[in-house]
Symmetry: C2
Subunit: 448 residues, 2 copies
């Protein structure tokens, strides 16, 4: 793929009124927010539009799902983050398409946003390998609502089990299944095991929460498939030490609210979490651009959309290769680096300078395993154990937004680390028709 | 009303197996939780059942609604609070009635809980003076879900206003109405004004949030009707200084999602909050016991249900008079004192001692007005201003449960006090069919 000729903003491109260059950013996640922040002082008008009012710190979302952190500790209002940055406008809205010829972003209510440069940073959703019907039984973890739904299901399972007289039903209620052995699945499984076996153990009387089963199912031959083999083995050993059962090489073939089928096994289980597959946002469809099998928009090496140098796409919604041919991973640091590159390119164009090259620098793969251990794969250097956990913790706190958030999360982790107490254990927002597990255990769910 | 003869647990009352005395407590609010905690070590078996898994610190719920505190900072899992207390069983369940003859509490799913002593601490709900249809337009503030719904509506109003081209619609979106001039209404109105005029002002560009109107409507002649007149006047002056408009002596006669009618005025407003009337839980109906007009169960001076010395009722769900004839108020300290009295009475009965008398001690009426002022009515001593605010703050932090919660709330208040930054500003859990304010402003709400 040849490098496209540098694109500078020519006199014809600029709006006739010689107004400022208009950048529209779709998505307030890591990529979009980084783009906006890095354009500070660049003299452009930025409009950032997102369908939610808050930025989500996705790496810690699983801690909301496991009742370790509060929702507002991992999400911040986008307006608050960009507060005071001159030239920035934040809008709450849903993008339904892009009119590339007319250079407008189309919104759900019929409004449109004109742009000179467009940045699509719309992220990814979960994929169920053609079985979208599994989503209701095994939700994923991408939004605050996902996290509070999972939290609700996990905590309700224990509450129902406490009142359930039938041993087989009780066992199913106390069986938790995580599908997908990547970092998210590993982190969820370890934390659910600790929640069940440590935090909740003294609080129930009819059930022994230490007997709760936590199962992590991975279709491939090892956990953390993209990490060094030694770290995969360590992660598995540590999870098993925490009481997690690990099933490798066994893809899930069926998944309902009552059971999961993997390999030859049919397991009754009432709580399932999906961490096994992602697909991109519809950005590629909006532009009719080439996409890979997961729907990721295939961008040029400089992150522009083929044939549209004025449109960038970054983060989880794109597919772009590193010089050695390997794909840039769909992780937060990659999105941030993409955002930084886009901002630098826009500045260069406005100044008439050649644009910098985009070179993704992998800073390491991290995964927490329970509250005391982690693995970090820096490539040539690999860390595991308690040291890795401290680095993992410091890195995550560092990347949180704002000192207040850092203090709050640090205090929460201190409490969990030292006392096993998880304080964000609220069951909220239940659907009135949430299926009861059967007579003897109906619970009135909270009104939505 | 004569004092009933002391009721001790006789040999006939005790279950034949000489098992421990069984206390069932319905409700995990201030009254129920205090009863359970004060029975520690009394040698009784306690079952506490609530339809939610968490205890709500209601005095600070309005701060969740105004995005100042996170949900998990004002609510704690009941199991966690009673963790480790011997003989306590906590169940999540919905009570539908009481079989007083058979001494059983009836649950929604058909289960029942036998008791030797029953404690009903089921609280209150909002009342709409015969207009229950107003509830959808003007929700109250009793549960976590109430608080996040109000938070959502308040924050969405600003987001919609930012994109609304029509000036009249924009004005309606930027008009917030609180109905009811008691402490809750005063606290809500002052905090919404600060949120609009201070916190959000730098974050919106198309609208000037300092122009948002906050209206507090009270049917009676003054705010804080139960407080000394000088404090009512001070509260009104302070609210007006914060930009709240106060309408006195004007009951609301109509209330929809689009407007409110009070006195002679019809005001287009899109966000309304109800803080004007309460009615008791159905406890009196469950027992066929005498009740007042708000449904509160009329208990004996020792908080037992007439004709049922083995059944106590406490807190917001009861009506009981003080020796001077004035009613014990429906506030948290009164519920806690009731719970303490019930526990002391149960202990006395088991020991064969006469039961203590119940004497409600009013410890003061407090109300915060914005982030820097408060009023406190101790009766003979009255405080106002910054000193009152500090005492208010310390008192509330003191009564929170647990050091972690105290730290978290203190840090949050420090941030609000010094920087005007409110961090719990998340719009979550929208209904997909939430009514749009019209073309040009449709927002895709988050999937529930």
């Amino acid at each position: 793929m040849t490098t496209p000729a540098p694109h500078t903003v020519s006199a014809q491109d600029r709006p006739a009124s010689d107004a400022r260059h208009r950048v529209v950013i779709v998505g307030g996640g890591f990529g979009g927010l980084e783009t906006a922040k890095r354009l500070k002082g660049a003299g452009v008008d930025i409009t950032l539009v997102d369908q939610r009012n808050h930025h989500i710190f996705q790496p810690l979302l699983y801690q909301v799902a496991t009742a370790s952190l509060a929702t507002s500790e991992v999400a911040w209002p986008i307006r608050g983050v960009l507060r005071g940055q001159e030239g920035v406008r934040v809008l709450l809205g849903t993008v339904t398409g892009v009119d590339a010829a007319g250079r407008r972003v189309l919104l759900a209510d019929g409004d449109s946003l004109p742009y000179d440069t467009l940045v699509l940073a719309t992220g990814a959703r979960h994929a169920y390998f053609g079985h979208d019907e599994w989503e209701e039984a095994a939700p994923g973890l991408k939004t605050i609502e996902d996290a509070t739904l999972l939290r609700r299901r996990i905590l309700l399972a224990f509450e129902r089990a406490e009142r359930e007289p039938d041993p087989a039903r009780r066992a199913a209620l106390l069986t938790f299944v995580v599908v997908g052995g990547g970092p998210t699945g590993v982190e969820m499984a370890g934390t659910i095991a600790e929640l069940a076996h440590d935090t909740l153990a003294p609080e129930f009387r009819a059930i022994d929460t230490r007997k709760a089963r936590v199962l992590l199912i991975e279709a491939g031959p090892r956990l953390l498939g993209g990490y060094h083999e030694s770290l995969s083995a360590y992660a598995q050993a540590e999870l098993e030490r925490l009481g997690v059962e690990v099933a490798l090489g066994q893809p899930v073939t069926e998944c309902t609210r009552e059971h999961v089928v993997y390999g030859d096994t049919t397991l009754p289980a009432r709580t399932m979490i999906w961490a096994a597959g992602v697909r991109a946002s519809p950005a590629a469809e909006w532009l009719g651009a080439p996409a890979d099998r997961a729907g990721r928009l295939r961008v040029e090496p400089d992150l522009t959309v083929p044939g549209h140098p004025e449109i960038f796409a970054i983060g989880d919604t794109v597919s772009v290769a590193r010089p050695d041919g390997s794909p840039v991973p769909g992780i937060a640091p990659a999105a941030k680096q993409g955002g930084a590159h886009v901002a630098a390119t826009i500045r260069a164009r406005l100044a008439g300078r050649p644009a910098p090259r985009f070179a993704y620098r992998h800073q390491g793969s991290l995964a927490q395993i329970g509250k005391r251990r982690a693995v970090i794969d820096f490539g040539r250097i690999r860390l595991r154990g308690a040291l890795a956990w401290w680095i993992w913790g410091i890195a995550h706190i560092f990347f949180l937004i704002g000192m207040r958030a850092r203090l709050a999360v640090a205090v929460n982790w201190l409490w969990i680390h030292t006392r096993n107490q998880r304080s964000a254990r609220l069951i909220t927002q239940g659907a009135p028709d949430e299926a009861s597990p059967g007579p003897g255990t109906t619970l009135r769910a909270d009104a939505a």
